[in-house]
C-alpha cells in the first residue's frame, strides 16, 4: 500500500513539473472553465423565468447540482481524461507492453499516471458553489448531511471512473473507438440538471443504465439533507458493482491483448 502512495506522489510531482512548461495552458483552461460555468448558469436561469421551478428544484438547489457537476468535471479534467484517453495510444503503439511488465497493478498505473493541475480550480470552485448555494437555499448542515454528501460524492466518482475506464479498456479491441468517450461526455452533460426534470424514460435510464443521477442529483440532495438512506445504500452497492466490473473487464481485456508492432 505504501508503495502505491509513493508512486502517486512521484507521478504527480513529475506531472506538476512538466506542466509548469505550459503556463499559458493553465490560464486558457481557467478562462474556458469560467466561461462554461457562466454559460451553464445562464441557461439554467432560463428555466426559472416567470417563477417556474425545474422538476421541484428551486433556483438555489439547482445551483447546488451545477456545483457538484463542476466538481466532478474538474476531477474528470484533472484525472480521468488525461489518463484514460492515453490507453488507446499505448495499445496502438504497443507501449502497453512496458506498462504490463512493471511490478505494479496495471489498472492503477494507467489510472493515476498523470494529473492535470488545470483541473484543480474547477474542483475548488465546484465545492465552493455547492456550499454557497446550499447555504443560500437555507440549509443547515448536520453530521448526517455532510457525511452523506461525502459518501455520495465518492459513489459518484467511482461510477464515473468505472464507466470511463470501461470505455477506455475497450480500446484493446477497437483501437479507434476512443471517441466513445465523447458520446459519454455528451450524455453526462445531462447531469447538469436535476434528474426529476427529465421525462420518465430518461429518468429511468439516467438512474439505472447510465447512473447520471448518482453523479450529481443525489450528492446535491445529500448536502441539502434530503437524501434517503436507502438510496445511499443502493449507491454503495451500485458503485462497488461498477468498480468490480471495471476490474474484471480489464483482466478480461488483457487476455485478448495481442500487442502491436512487435
Amino acid at each position: 500500500m505504501h508503495r502505491y502512495f509513493k508512486t502517486i506522489r512521484l507521478f504527480w510531482s513529475t506531472a506538476f513539473a512538466s506542466q509548469l512548461e505550459y503556463q499559458l495552458n493553465f490560464l486558457i483552461e481557467l478562462l474556458a472553465m469560467l466561461g462554461t460555468l457562466l454559460g451553464s448558469v445562464f441557461i439554467l436561469s432560463l428555466f426559472f423565468t416567470g417563477g417556474r421551478e425545474l422538476g421541484d428544484w428551486t433556483w438555489e438547489s439547482a445551483l447546488v447540482i451545477q456545483g457538484v457537476y463542476t466538481f466532478l468535471d474538474g476531477l474528470t479534467n484533472a484525472l480521468l481524461r488525461p489518463n484514460l484517453t492515453e490507453i488507446v495510444n499505448y495499445v496502438r503503439e504497443g507501449t502497453l507492453d512496458y506498462v504490463l511488465l512493471k511490478p505494479i497493478d496495471s489498472q492503477f498505473w494507467l489510472s493515476v499516471k498523470k494529473f492535470s493541475f488545470a483541473g484543480l480550480p474547477e474542483i475548488i470552485l465546484g465545492l465552493s458553489i455547492v456550499f454557497w448555494a446550499a447555504i443560500q437555499s437555507g440549509t443547515s448542515f448536520s453530521l448526517y448531511s455532510l457525511s452523506a454528501f461525502i459518501i455520495s460524492l465518492i459513489i459518484g466518482f467511482v461510477i464515473l471512473y468505472s464507466v470511463w475506464f470501461l470505455i477506455a479498456a475497450s480500446s484493446i479491441w477497437f483501437v479507434k473507438t476512443w471517441n466513445a468517450t465523447e458520446v459519454l461526455r455528451a450524455l453526462l452533460a445531462a447531469g447538469r440538471y436535476p434528474i426529476s426534470a427529465y421525462p420518465v424514460i430518461l429518468r429511468f435510464i439516467f438512474t439505472l443504465v447510465l447512473p447520471v443521477a448518482f453523479l450529481t442529483t443525489f450528492p446535491a440532495e445529500a448536502i441539502l439533507g434530503e437524501l434517503k438512506f436507502n438510496i445511499l445504500f443502493f449507491g454503495l452497492i451500485l458503485s462497488s458493482l461498477f468498480f468490480t466490473f471495471s476490474r474484471f473487464f480489464w483482466k478480461f481485456a488483457l487476455k485478448h491483448y495481442t500487442s502491436a508492432s512487435s
Binding site: I28, N179, A186, A197, P199
Partner: protein
C-alpha cells in the same frame, strides 16, 4: 474550369481519396454522430418543463428546432485544429507544404468526405427521433431545404475558418488545440445548440448577435424547422463573416509558415 484556383481533377482526387479514407472509420464516425445528442437532451428538458411557451414555441416547434439544430451541427462540425496540430507536431506537415496545393484544402476535403460518411447515421438518428416523437414529423419544402442546405454550408465555412485561425497559431505554439476551447465555449452557449436564441433576454441576444456563433446553428436550424426568420439578414451576416475571416486566415497563415520549424523532422 477552376474553383478556388483548383482544377476539377484535383478536387475530384482529393474528395475521392478522403472519402475512401473516411469509409475505413465508419464506426468512429457513427460515434461522432452519436456524440451530438446534446440538442436532444436539451429538448427533453425544455419540453418536459413547459418552458417552450415562454419563448413562443410549442412542443412540436421545439422538437423540430432541436432536430434541425442536431442536423445542422452534424454537417458543420469542424475538427481541423486537432488534425492540423497532430500533423504539425509529427512533422507530417512538411511534405504538405511542399506540394503546390494549400494544405488547408486537404483538410476541407477530409471534412466534406466525413460529412458524406456521416449522412446515413444522421438520417438514422433523425428517423429514430421521428419514431419517438411522431407528431413532430415534417418535411421542409424544397426552397426551405435548399436555403437551409446553403446556410449550413456557410455555417461550416465560418466554423472552419474560425478554427483555421486557431490552427494557424500552431506555428507559434505547440498546444493551439487548447485555444480552441476558447472558441468552443461561446459557441456552445451562443450558437443555439442548447436553446433557441429567441429565449434569450434582449440584452444578451444583442451581444450574441454581434458574434458569428448564432449563424452557425440558430440561423440554419430556424430555416430548416420552418420558424420565422429574416433570411436576407442571416445570409448577409454569414457572407460578411466569411469575407472577414478569409483574408484574416490568409494573412495569419502566411506569417505562420515563415516561422515553421518542421518539428519532428
Amino acid at each position: 474550369m477552376r474553383i478556388f484556383g483548383l482544377s476539377f481533377k484535383v478536387i475530384k482526387t482529393l474528395l475521392t481519396t478522403q472519402y475512401a479514407y473516411m469509409l475505413e472509420y465508419r464506426i468512429e464516425i457513427a460515434l461522432w454522430a452519436l456524440s451530438g445528442v446534446l440538442p436532444f437532451i436539451m429538448f427533453s428538458l425544455w419540453s418536459q418543463n413547459d418552458v417552450g411557451n415562454s419563448f413562443g414555441l410549442n412542443d412540436i416547434g421545439l422538437a423540430r428546432y432541436f432536430l434541425s439544430a442536431f442536423l445542422v451541427r452534424q454537417f458543420s462540425v469542424v475538427w481541423v485544429v486537432f488534425s492540423f496540430e497532430e500533423d504539425s507536431i509529427s512533422g507530417r506537415l512538411s511534405p504538405y507544404l511542399l506540394q503546390p496545393l494549400h494544405p488547408l484544402f486537404r483538410y476541407v476535403a477530409s471534412h466534406l468526405a466525413e460529412q458524406a460518411t456521416r449522412l446515413p447515421f444522421a438520417i438514422a438518428i433523425a428517423i429514430t427521433f421521428f419514431i419517438l416523437n411522431p407528431s413532430s414529423f415534417w418535411l421542409p419544402s424544397l426552397p426551405q431545404f435548399f436555403l437551409a442546405y446553403l446556410s449550413t454550408h456557410f455555417a461550416f465555412t465560418i466554423a472552419f475558418l474560425l478554427q483555421s485561425l486557431v490552427a494557424a497559431l500552431c506555428f507559434w505554439t505547440e498546444k493551439s488545440s487548447a485555444l480552441e476551447r476558447l472558441i468552443f465555449v461561446p459557441y456552445l452557449f451562443l450558437s443555439g445548440l442548447l436553446v433557441p436564441l429567441s429565449a434569450f433576454p434582449s440584452n444578451v441576444l444583442k451581444v450574441a448577435m454581434i458574434t458569428p456563433f448564432p449563424y452557425l446553428i440558430n440561423f440554419p436550424a430556424k430555416i430548416l424547422s420552418g420558424m420565422p426568420v429574416d433570411i436576407f439578414d442571416g445570409f448577409l451576416a454569414q457572407i460578411m463573416w466569411i469575407s472577414i475571416l478569409v483574408p484574416s486566415v490568409n494573412i495569419l497563415w502566411k506569417l505562420g509558415v515563415k516561422r515553421y520549424t518542421a518539428m519532428g523532422a
